[in-house]
Amino acid sequence: MSDLLLDISGLSAISLREGGNPILRDVSLSLKKGEVRGLVGESGAGKSTIAKALLGILPRTVKVTSGTMRFEGRDLLTMAPRDLSAIMGSDIALIPQDPQTALNPGRRIEAQLTDGLRLRRGMNARDAHARALQLLSEVHIRDPERVLKAYPHELSGGMRQRVMIAAAFSLEPKLVVADEPTTALDVTVQKQILRLIRGMQEAHGTAVIFVTHDLGVVAKICDSVTLLYGGKVIEAGPTADVLADPRHVYTKALIAAGPRYDRPDAGLEPVPQWVFDQLHQEIRTGAKEILHG
């Protein structure tokens, strides 16, 4: 398949800190060009580990034990560091979780937004400035000249995340890893940011791995979804199929646990304990994941 962008297959990893505890168990997932895939799971499910592996920033305490991670046919895990760093930031970009810490408080937005353009594309200051203006208006920032001159603390959280999105798309990457990009934001801003990421993704034809713990977010912007628990893929497939016809009890319980806007007085349904018991049983016995379509 020529339009296959990313193909992760049989990826397993252990944590060296917790005495060789597995944190990824035989994870496989693939991504087509221009596809948005949600990577869903609770804390410790392994979604961030996958994102970090994609960016080549796994901490030293994590060791990949088997599997491949092919990006345009080349395995990121065995690639020479030099080739890898040429891809990172350029072909694979990151939208970080917290725009508060993702911008250097001591540098103006212009400097930070144009780093990639100058370092990776060899642009001169004037061209980079023009491109930065263009990018900021693309993420619907009204007064781009003022924002470029501003320091991060002069911008709101939503504005900062817009800047981060502009920076992520600045080098026309083929894949953007969005690491819970709305968790640190106000609920009212979250929606705008989601719409913006989807809009940018469509306009640039970029594939997105969207890391989140929120199935509601997945329903809004993801074409497909991979649900993880305990480092293992539980269920995966097109978003519409998985949400409309969840086959695994965990998926069903998660969907039931979400707030129902049509019945606001219904309350929240926690995932029952027996579901977790069954999950742990399946992880021990190495049961197959459920794949839709």
């Binding site: 970009a93 979780q97 911008l103």
Partner: protein, 334 residues
């Protein structure tokens, strides 16, 4: 800085100086020791002593003495040194430049060395050399300036006599200077032989004063850099293809330097205090050295003048530190 906060600071500085003046004036007259007793020759008559006492105003009551002294200081008259029989202001003007040059040189040395070591240690933070740097720095932190001074005298003055042991300049070339800022003047007038001579004289006192400060700067800056290096913006900059050196210098250093400047300012005032003993050890002709003689001789006008100068220096250093901290932190622009 707004006009209001500037005025506020100047007022605070004036009040602080006044407080320093009161405390020193009272303390000097409470502690035992009589300046007149130091001056008279044996066998002087009671009348001679009384005349001398009256000449220096010491026969007046304390508040009157303070009032006389304060009003004359405000009009620029710091009085006459009892032991040296010279105008205090003149003495200060003669000696202060030497101390300023010494303290400034020690500061520059400490800042440069501290930054270089902290940045290098950060670049090496994942290697086995890192704990070695910490251990060595811990050792340097524990050694105070006067111990350095004595050790340096022993090593480079006695065992391996490469540096001049005392003084500020070769006495023969002292005549050719228009100001007391020998280092600065020789540099600006391009007299490199004098410059080399002055620098050689300064090396040991600068090391003694600068090494403790350098290790403090290293410790604080290294910790601040380590804290900055795990931030997301560093990670993103790394993804954008920035080299590790550039990550440290361009991204991390600018956020780590704020707390370092604040602390360096405080520590620099200690360094100025340290010039007293270090100048003494190296017979360096600054105000610190003069302060020790003044105290030994109970030279009240000179001590008061010196303490005021030290007080003013501390206040100026603190003002400069605050201004620098603001300059390096865009969040504090006001």
């Amino acid at each position: 800085m707004t006009a209001y906060s500037f005025f506020h600071r100047v007022l605070m500085a004036a009040i602080t100086l006044f407080g320093v003046a009161v405390i020193v004036f009272v303390l000097l007259r409470v502690v035992p020791g009589d300046p007149i007793a130091m001056m008279i020759s044996p066998g002087a008559s009671e009348a001679d002593i009384a005349a001398l006492r009256a000449q220096y105003g010491l026969d007046q009551s304390l508040p009157v003495q303070f009032w006389i002294w304060l009003t004359s200081v405000l009009s620029g008259d710091f009085g006459t040194s009892i032991s040296l029989r010279r105008d205090v202001l003149e003495l200060l003007a003669e000696r202060l430049p030497a101390t300023l040059e010494l303290a400034a040189a020690a500061l520059v040395f400490a800042v440069v060395l501290g930054i270089v070591i902290a940045v290098t240690a950060t670049l090496l933070s994942r290697t086995k050399l890192s704990p070695l740097v910490d251990t060595l720095n811990g050792l340097f932190l524990a050694v105070p300036d006067f111990v350095w001074a004595l050790a340096l005298v022993l090593i480079f003055g006695v065992l391996l006599p490469v540096f001049p042991l005392s003084g500020r300049i070769n006495p023969d070339s002292q005549e050719g200077f228009a100001t007391q800022f020998y280092l600065l003047e020789s540099l600006l007038t391009l007299r490199f032989r004098d410059l080399a001579d002055i620098s050689l004289h300064m090396i040991m006192p600068v090391l003694a004063l600068g090494l403790p400060l350098a290790s403090i700067i290293t410790k604080v800056l290294k910790e601040a850099l380590a804290e900055a290096m795990v931030q997301d913006y560093i990670l993103l900059a790394r993804l954008k293809g920035m080299s590790r050196l550039r990550l440290v210098l361009q991204e991390a250093l600018r956020n780590a330097i704020g707390p370092t400047i604040a602390l360096t300012g405080v520590q620099f005032t200690f360094l100025i205090g340290g010039t007293v003993i270090v100048e003494r050890i190296f017979a360096y002709p600054g105000i610190g050295n003069m302060a020790i003689d003044a105290v030994i001789n109970r030279d009240l006008p000179l001590i008061q003048g010196l303490v005021l100068v030290f007080g003013a220096l501390f206040i100026l250093v603190n003002l400069a530190t605050d201004a620098l901290v603001v300059a390096f932190n865009p969040r504090m622009e006001a």
